[in-house]
Assembly symmetry: C2
Homo-oligomer: 228 residues x 2
């Protein structure tokens, strides 16, 4: 009786993990209403009734998936605080968020779906954790502005821009792939995109020098000689 309450049996832990993994994929592809418990069970390789043994309702399962995603988001958020230097902090944050979009696109999609539909399940997170985090980082950005380290811009608009752009590579990856000839971005292409995003944001707020085309140097591999 002691072990069971503290440590869910290994079978249970393993099955919950498999189900949650399958659920994330199915919810990402079809949304909450579009996903069926049958689809999730099939993807997890178990009968539907077994899924309902571990997760009584579809909503409980969905909530667990969203909570997991929110934790990943929070994890990335910490990289904002790695340094008090705007260039270092924003580079680390954008870089981490881009990595998550690449490695965890399904989680991002579930989150996007939830917000799109007015956050019926996770509104409380938005009003507590997310609101606090955002307000605190906005004030960091305002301090940078006051110190003259970056140009005066709307801090929230900057944060939204970073969120929107980085998450776009997960949420809209189907569109990006289609525009890339139907193939996913290669590692090099993704690295180039990440570099561009960081460069535009940093230069955009006056936190890094803008290198115009003419002066050579530049380690840039993408040589811009183009049309002749």
């Amino acid at each position: 009786m002691s072990q069971k309450t503290t440590q869910k049996s290994a079978v249970r832990a393993e099955n919950e993990r498999m189900i949650l993994k399958a659920a994330e994929a199915v919810f990402a592809d079809h949304g909450f209403r579009g996903a069926t418990t049958g689809m999730i069970a099939e993807r997890a390789g178990i009968p539907k009734a077994n899924l309902h043994y571990y997760f009584p309702t579809k909503e409980a399962l969905y909530r667990r998936v969203v909570e997991h995603i929110f934790n990943i988001w929070l994890d990335a958020a910490n990289s904002f605080d790695e340094s008090d230097d705007p260039v270092e902090a924003l580079t680390a944050y954008i870089s981490k968020k881009m990595d998550i979009s690449r490695e965890h696109p399904m989680g991002s999609k579930v989150w996007a779906n939830e917000i799109l539909h007015r956050a019926p399940v996770i509104q409380d997170y938005l009003e507590t954790t997310l609101r606090d985090w955002t307000a605190s980082r906005a004030s960091v950005i305002e301090r940078w502005i006051a110190q003259g380290r970056i140009a005066p811009i709307d801090p929230n608009a900057l944060l939204y821009m970073i969120w929107a752009t980085t998450q776009h590579y997960a949420d809209f990856n189907h569109q990006i792939d289609t525009l890339n000839g139907g193939r996913p971005l290669t590692g090099e292409q993704f690295a180039e995109a990440k570099k561009t995003v960081i460069q535009i944001v940093l230069a955009g707020i006056g936190a890094a020098p803008v290198s115009l085309a003419r002066d050579a140097s530049a380690r840039a591999s993408g040589d811009t000689e183009a049309a002749e």
Copy 2:
């Protein structure tokens, strides 16, 4: 017999308009699977059977809604070509896309939902119209780079950044509102956000001066003083 084929009866035109308007709102709020024809009919103020008289299937109705949205998107896309000057062209384009997000958030949400779920209905648009438009504008951007008018950046990444950021104000408006104390952005707040987005993008690609807090003047080229 002549008039009927060329001009749908006024009744039909008016009813289709009302249904499409209701459908856009319901699809935006609930997604394709989440929306029911019953909800749409109720919102349009007609019995469900009447809705099916005008639109035989839910999918046909959905497709009409998405087509309408795509046309709005294309309309905005034209503002990219208003000028060959990077500053003017991008300012017009971003401005127009922000306005659409403000005035047409539901359309944007339907589009986002469709891409999120791998574009089951409008994949053909992505592969034709959207692909052509994007390739052509990417080459305009590449020319600007070759002419040294903007910094060398990945053109697609720039376009994605603009799409992501501007559409974020529609697709994620619930999150933005929540972080704004539960209230929608005022006109002034939205104008400020728009200004910030334009400023960051233009400065980010070296197409506009970065004005640091202290020195007011100068579009100075060599302004790489940064941290002190």
